[in-house]
């Protein structure tokens, strides 16, 4: 069956990209703990990243049910913050990939367009849940005013449809929706 040709949504447009990459993998054992970088990680379908707070049920938002098995963040947003674009604050904000507290830092992937869409990270398959919303809690942890600068670009919360091992450098590719 040629699902390539199957249009998605009323507009008939599909979200496509070609150079998506996984740059960093971070987990934290519990709420407020510093994120730790991994070279590879094991995704468990329906649960999360082995060792991460939302896999273990020890996250700040664990008691609030949501598709939060794995969270993604765009490297492009960190770049934009570093050049104060748009100029929302007095000076640029230098955030490291471990600072934003999402699990996967990606490049070349339009996360805002992936709500409800399936896509591949290495051999695994993720499904976009809801767009992540910046929280004051992150501001407190970092001691930096990031709430407003992250508005509308705070990443994507995902569900894991197909688990497996992901590695730094893995390709991230669109899948056609069923």
């Amino acid at each position: 069956m040629n699902i390539q040709a199957k249009p998605v949504g009323a507009s008939g447009l599909r979200t496509k990209w070609s150079d998506g990459r996984l740059l960093h993998i971070h987990i934290a054992p519990a709420a407020a703990y510093e994120m730790e970088e991994l070279a590879e990680a094991n995704l468990i379908a329906g649960r999360g990243i082995e060792g991460d707070r939302y896999f273990l049920g020890t996250g700040t938002y664990s008691p609030k049910p949501d598709a939060r098995e794995v969270t993604l963040f765009e490297m492009e947003v960190l770049d934009a913050l570093a050049r104060n674009d748009p100029p929302l604050q007095a000076s640029p904000i230098k955030l490291e990939p471990e600072d934003h507290r999402r699990n996967l830092t990606v490049a070349g992937v339009p996360l805002d367009h992936l709500v409800g869409k399936r896509f591949r990270v290495g051999d695994t398959i993720l499904v976009g849940g809801r767009l992540n919303f910046p929280c004051k809690y992150l501001e407190e942890l970092l001691g930096m005013p990031v709430y407003l600068p992250l508005y509308n670009r705070s990443g994507l919360n995902c569900r894991i449809e197909k688990g497996g091992v992901i590695r730094r450098g893995d390709k991230i590719e669109p899948l056609d929706d069923r």
Binding site: A32, Y33, E34, E36, Y137, E140, L141
Partner: protein, 319 residues
């Protein structure tokens, strides 16, 4: 309540300073620079059994590469100091929070008077280190059982000099015969002077009583209460009573103990801080978020402290 980052820090140095007090220096395995702190700040140290304890930072506030705490081993205490003494070695890794300061030097003070007792010297050591370096006016009254048990006695002497350090030792063999006379020190209110006290309860009570005529906000105390994790966000949950099947909703801003009490269920309770153990209650069917400092891991399997502990979604209590 501000959330603070918890960092897994490595013990870089273990340095006994008296028979019972040991200094631990923590460094970060990956960050050469740590979140900065002001004199008087403390960190939370997270123990493997879930206990969280606050310790004042006693190191140099101008050094952002390490945090130092001094821990007095209290064998009669609640177990944390003993655990640290028995388990922390150079290279040990332990979660430590970014600093917070409830005991800062007052802005705009013209002079600072410190009154410290025993291990209560720890935040004040950082404060006098800061002031001495900047040649700002202060005096330190430091009492301890004996010169031998007084932590940091030698460094304080060096740091403060005889004109700013007044040491009082209660053992008779000590040459410093003078007794600390708090009432005398605080008899005259000096405008622009701030007073800081940290030490055993008897000392803080004495200072409080002797300072009643001082202007509000000019006398400061560092009192460590058993800490509840400041990063904890309470959520509402349901409590089911096993005997009647009745379900009570516990809102985020109330404890199970309070709600049960409000429903006429009288339960023994005392400190209501998760310390005394009076309100322990059996439970079944539920994921409990234990936040007390008394129950050990085995007891936590079927008991919870209703004053501070909560549950995910719901829990059935043996009531």
């Amino acid at each position: 309540m501000t959330a603070r980052l918890i960092m897994k820090m490595a013990v870089a140095e273990v340095r006994p300073v008296t028979d019972t007090v040991t200094v631990y220096r923590f460094e970060h395995p990956r960050r050469p620079h740590l979140p900065a702190f002001n004199p008087g700040a403390h960190v939370d140290v997270h123990l493997p059994d879930g206990k969280v304890r606050q310790y004042s930072l006693c190191g140099d506030p101008d050094n952002d590469t390490a945090y130092e705490i001094a821990v007095k081993r209290e064998d009669e205490g609640r177990g944390a100091s003993r655990w640290l003494h028995e388990n922390l070695r150079v290279g040990s890794v332990i979660p430590v929070s970014a600093p917070r300061n409830n005991f800062p030097l007052a802005d705009g003070a013209r002079r600072h008077v410190f009154i410290a007792g025993g291990i209560g010297i720890t935040p004040i050591l950082a404060m006098v280190t800061h002031l001495a370096r900047r040649d700002l006016p202060f005096e330190l009254h430091f009492c301890a059982r004996s010169a031998r048990t007084a932590p940091f006695a030698a460094s304080l002497k060096h740091l403060c000099g005889p004109e700013r350090l007044f040491a009082y030792f209660s053992d008779s063999s000590s040459q410093a015969a003078a007794r600390l006379d708090v009432a005398e020190i605080l008899s005259k209110v000096e405008p622009g002077t701030h007073v800081y006290c940290c030490g055993p309860q008897r000392l803080t009570e004495t200072v409080r009583a002797a300072a009643v005529h001082w202007p509000e906000g000019s006398v400061h105390f560092e009192v460590f209460k058993p800490t509840l994790d400041e990063n904890f966000n309470p959520e509402p949950f349901d409590v089911k009573l096993a005997s009647t099947g009745e379900v009570l909703r516990i809102p985020a801003n109330k404890s199970a103990l309070e709600v049960l009490r409000g429903h006429g269920i009288a339960l023994p309770a005392s400190c209501e801080l998760g310390l005394c153990g009076s309100c322990a209650c059996g439970y079944r069917e539920g994921v409990v978020i234990h936040r007390d400092s008394v129950l050990d891991l085995t007891a936590r399997q079927n008991q919870m402290m209703l004053c501070v502990s909560r549950a995910r979604v719901s829990v059935t209590l043996d009531i």
